[in-house]
Amino acid sequence: MNGQHILRIKTPLCSYKILLERNITVLTGDSGIGKTSIYRAIDKYNRTGGKCDISVTSDCNVVVMDRVFDEFSYIHNNVRNSIFVIDEGREWIKSDEFARLVSKSSNYFVIISRDPLYSLPYSVHSVITLKTRNGRDSFETISEKLFVRTTSGKDVDIVITEDSKSGRELYKRMLSTSVRDIKGEPEGKSTVYDKALDMTNSGVSSCVIVDGAAFGCEIRQMLKLVNSPNSRVTLWAPESFEWLILKSGVIRKHGVEEILNSPADYIESSDFMSWEQFFTWLLTELTKDTTHPYSKSKLHDWYFSPENLEKLKAVIPKELRDKICGT
């Protein structure tokens, strides 16, 4: 399945509107905001065949996943192109079996959880919460992204990136000398919280650059740090390093702009578990027969030309660019 989907649920006292942009959405937030109520409403609607005081509407099938995870019956029933809603308290959402099932699935998954789901590559933009307001006849609840702002007004002394090899090399060339260093850690993304905290302790202001398309499992924790009163951390989460190259326009190919304007329409969930995987595939495909084929391990010198570096810098939000590129 691809594209954006809207899930609407109406109960006698409340209506819900959830926007799903990707194959994995994690619904989180305070207690008592209606997360489990959504699950129960869908379950009741399906069990009664719609003969109840609840309506569930979407442009595709909407089902709940049972308390007990049964991989065999899921595959056997061959449910396709549907939205699965999973309530909190299901410990199997952290299992490799579940991750395997999601990775090849044509279905979208809405998972109610506060825990980081390390086995699933989900986006910072897929972590949502619910906001309720008084409507004319009933309460109206809509989904809202947990992570909205990319940067803050804080200064930046150092940039921390999770990218190694190609990514780290390119960031080094793009950023100005006013940035002291770049710490790309080979261990991967789980260390950036640690590093940013270390920097804060040392009185150093840092900017953390992560691949937003796969950093969802860490975003709640990172936002706690970014938003803490003594924080000196700024967070920027472009979809991925490959997305940044594509977005910059250094690769001029017909159709790329259309894809970047509406990636959801082009990314089939059964082919790509995350948008990060898709952008890596796309960049590799677009450059494979050129003089500068893309490789994660080493970037061709062509990407470091002054003209290309300027284009790449232009993708960074201006407020942040002024601080880390010195322009």
Binding site: L13, D30, R114, N201, K224
Partner: protein
């Protein structure tokens, strides 16, 4: 005091699915008291009409099995007499933490936690992170303890 065990594991003696546990275990007395009424008002914006009847603005008149997972967990921590189980407070949103901290002022509470909650340091704050035996007295301490636990856990990962 509040004792936190930070873990992604789910041992057999830990309740993770609070609905299953609470719905069959709760007693009317857990609901029919001042503490429970205040928690339910604050977290779920609902009113206790009677021990088995809750008036929710979003759901109408419901029984206590329709309370939020966070409220159910707080009530278990406060009133469950069995002491047989430990609870994972992953079902508790940040808006529950003030109540858990308040409970821990009166008695020792041992819980598992697998997400980083936001504790309030404008109130009683003595939290022991059991993994590293560190006493935290403000939220910054928790952020540091979290990183330390993460470091320890990564150190135990098998090397590639």
């Amino acid at each position: 005091m509040l004792y936190l065990n930070v873990t992604q594991e789910i041992p057999d003696n830990v309740i993770w699915d609070i609905d299953v546990y609470f719905d069959y275990a709760y007693q009317p007395s857990w609901i029919d008291n001042d503490f429970a009424r205040r928690v339910i008002e604050d977290v779920d914006k609902s009113h206790v009409v009677a021990p088995r009847i809750i008036d929710s603005p979003y759901l109408g008149y419901v029984d206590p099995t329709h309370l939020s997972g966070g409220v159910k967990c707080i009530l278990c921590l406060a009133f469950d007499p069995t002491k047989k189980w430990k609870f994972n407070i992953t079902v508790c949103g940040d808006n529950c933490m003030r109540w858990i901290q308040r409970l821990s002022k009166a008695k020792d509470i041992h819980v598992d936690v697998s997400h980083l909650p936001e504790f309030y340091d404008d109130t009683y704050f003595e939290i022991m992170v059991e993994n590293i035996n560190k006493l935290c007295t403000c939220y910054d301490d928790i952020l540091h303890a979290w990183a330390e636990v993460d470091r320890c856990e990564r150190a135990t990962y098998p090397k590639d």
